[in-house]
């Protein structure tokens, strides 16, 4: 029983990573109805920017804030320049665009900061949390930040005018336009917010997986799995999905024989497929009805 509790705790700790990433994935899905395959790379680039700022002598939190603002602006800029012209194009073209963006960002990061693995600092320290050997203070901090982020988003979407406008623009664009909402800018705002959330995820994950241009590969897949599990239309679901995926991953590694580190990705695959087959809308997602 103790093993079980410990594994669940450790799972929640890793789950926080996935929850952060899933939150960014869901944000952009809400705004544009597409999964951004370059999301992980964008988060990685933001993390590198904050690392660079710290190398230049800024303190962690100053670098954190500057990176947040820069990422927000960069996200909006990417939408305005690269993806706005593709708004009416078929899904296929958009997916090709995301892949192109992925290649550009990954290769530029490699050129600027090269591919060696870098240490990344944590503001929470890495001592054991409340005497537990399983969760470090950094991981506890990560869980805390994720929950705060979720609460912030909830209040933003439920109680502010602009949050309401964004929800309207995402669910019924035509009617939203008729009541005077600038839907095109709401999409740009969605990109900006998703990029900013992604940068937070990147900066929290970097102390755990270390900083390098390919650091987000596996994390993004798990982020997708978490988002799908929680339902792509629900930020709350994304966070719950993230924690569940983390717990599931740890328990499968402990109790199913033969599942070690090598089978981590196939587990994510199996999870994505079984969720999509059994409950395509996810745990907390909206069911979408189609008509001719």
């Amino acid at each position: 029983m103790e093993l079980f509790t410990n594994q669940v705790l450790a799972g929640i700790a890793t789950g926080a990573i996935y929850a952060c990433m899933a939150l960014a994935v869901v944000m952009i899905y809400q705004a544009i109805d597409h999964l951004n395959f370059a999301q992980g790379e964008m988060a990685m680039f933001s993390t590198f920017i904050s690392w660079q700022l710290m190398q230049w002598g800024l303190s962690y939190w100053v670098a954190f804030l500057i990176t947040l603002v820069l990422s927000f602006v960069a996200g909006i800029a990417i939408e305005r320049i690269l993806f706005k012209p593709l708004a009416k194009a078929p899904v296929l073209t958009n997916v090709a665009g995301f892949i192109a963006l992925f290649a550009i960002i990954n290769s530029s990061a490699g050129l600027i900061w090269d591919f060696t693995i870098k240490q990344y600092p944590t503001p929470f320290g890495s001592a054991p949390f409340l005497g537990s050997q399983l969760i470090s203070t950094h991981q506890a901090g990560m869980i805390g930040v994720t929950v705060l982020l979720l609460l912030g988003l909830y209040f933003f979407f439920q109680y502010t005018r602009i949050g309401l406008a964004m929800r309207a623009a995402a669910s019924v664009p035509e009617s939203a336009r008729l009541v005077g909402i600038n839907t095109s800018w709401m999409i740009a705002l969605g990109w900006g917010m998703a990029t900013a959330i992604g940068s937070i995820a990147g900066m929290l994950i970097a102390p755990v997986v270390f900083l390098e241009p390919n650091m987000m590969g596996g994390v993004l897949i798990y982020g997708f799995a978490a988002a799908v599990l929680g339902g792509l239309t629900s930020p709350f679901g994304a966070v719950v999905g993230g924690f569940l995926v983390g717990i599931f991953e740890n328990l499968a590694g402990t109790y199913i024989p033969g599942v070690g580190n090598e089978l981590k990705l196939p587990i994510a695959l199996a999870l994505i497929i079984s969720v999509l087959v059994v409950k395509p809308a996810g745990l907390f997602g909206r069911h979408i009805v189609k008509r001719v």
Binding site: D33, S108, G217, I272
Partner: protein, 338 residues
């Protein structure tokens, strides 16, 4: 937010391509075929190898084209089927000493089976979700190929070395040249099969599903059957392409079949023009040669140059090589009139 039910009129994921616009005219086909037959005679061995590569990658792009351009389903997981095909061929050739030309059909049939089975869950998915599920399949495949209990046959992380076949019947031909013509015959046969498939009853069913799934099912098309069938056919052809690649490269290893390969095939399809079968070869040329050009422009930034080129293609010629071909045709006919 979770209680609301949305009613969405979905735009088709892929733009409709008229059936006649999917192939080349007879005259052009003959010219292209003659070129493919004659060129290797005058080329060096390395160039012949690259042409072989062009053919089998073209075949893999063609397979994706049938799936996406034909039935409107996405796949970012083609590398998985390609890898399975390559491994089946390599294992049969090296561990069981079965001649290479018998391995390919087996690889094709087995991959058809795997694709058909994977198509079952994929049935319920469309658009982005399908892209996601196949994306996960492609990332998981290298790890599955490295599995311990398969190591006896697959050689684990090390991979397998494959012997290159000699020209049969005492033909005085280099191995590369023989392999080129062998590949050409296989590719041509599959190309003709695909063209006919898309013109058949099944092909029309694919296209009806692509253009509007609900309308298609209302007209009596068995949507479930044809969607999985498209997946199976595509996977089968990709498996044959993978098998050819294993013979040509003489080596298979788990890390040759990563998501990068799947993405390259996807890009090849976009560049060649979705739904235009002959464009597959042009798309394959893009994924073989453009990274080299990109590396020539800037070594460290080759990925970025590649991405920028892709964006240019999306913006300037969203229908890929098909659009260029149509423009060229219009230009030629205008010249003729004057």
């Amino acid at each position: 937010m979770s209680a609301v039910e949305d009613v969405v009129t979905e735009a088709p994921a892929v733009e409709a391509v008229p059936k006649r616009a999917m192939t080349l005219g007879t005259g052009t086909s003959v010219v292209v075929l003659l070129l493919l037959l004659v060129v290797p005679v005058f080329a060096k061995n390395f160039v012949i190898f690259q042409l072989t590569q062009l053919l089998y990658l073209g075949l893999a792009v063609l397979a994706l084209n049938i799936l996406t351009g034909g039935s409107g389903q996405f796949s970012l997981g083609q590398s998985a089927f390609y890898g399975i095909g390559a491994y089946i061929t390599a294992v049969m050739m090296e561990q069981f000493n079965i001649p290479y030309f018998l391995c390919l059909p087996v690889a094709g049939v087995l991959c058809f089976g795997v694709g058909f089975l994977f198509g079952q869950p994929a049935l319920r998915l469309s658009g982005v979700y399908l892209a996601l599920a196949t994306f996960a399949l492609a990332t998981a495949m290298p790890q599955l190929l490295k599995l311990n209990f398969l190591e006896k046959w697959t050689g684990g992380v090390q991979g397998l070395v494959v012997t290159k076949p000699d020209a049969p019947f005492g033909l005085k031909m280099s191995q590369d040249m023989w392999l080129y013509y062998f590949t050409l015959v296989v590719v041509l046969a599959i190309y003709i099969f695909s063209v006919n498939l898309l013109r058949s009853r099944s092909g029309r069913a694919f296209m009806a599903i692509r253009d509007n799934e609900i309308a298609a099912s209302a007209m009596g098309v068995n949507v479930a059957l044809y969607k999985t069938l498209a997946f199976g056919v595509s996977a089968g052809i990709t498996g044959v392409a993978g098998g050819l690649s294993a013979i040509a490269v003489q080596f298979v290893a788990p890390d040759s079949f990563t998501i990068t390969l799947a993405i390259q095939l996807f890009l090849g399809m976009v560049v060649g023009g979705v739904g235009w079968l002959p464009g597959s070869i042009i798309g394959a040329a893009f994924i073989i040669f453009v990274p080299n050009i990109a590396e020539g422009i800037s070594k460290g930034l080759s990925g970025a140059v590649f991405g920028v080129l892709l964006f240019l293609v999306i913006y300037l010629v969203p229908h890929g090589a098909r659009q260029v071909a149509i423009l060229g045709q219009q230009f030629a006919s205008r010249l003729r009139k004057n």
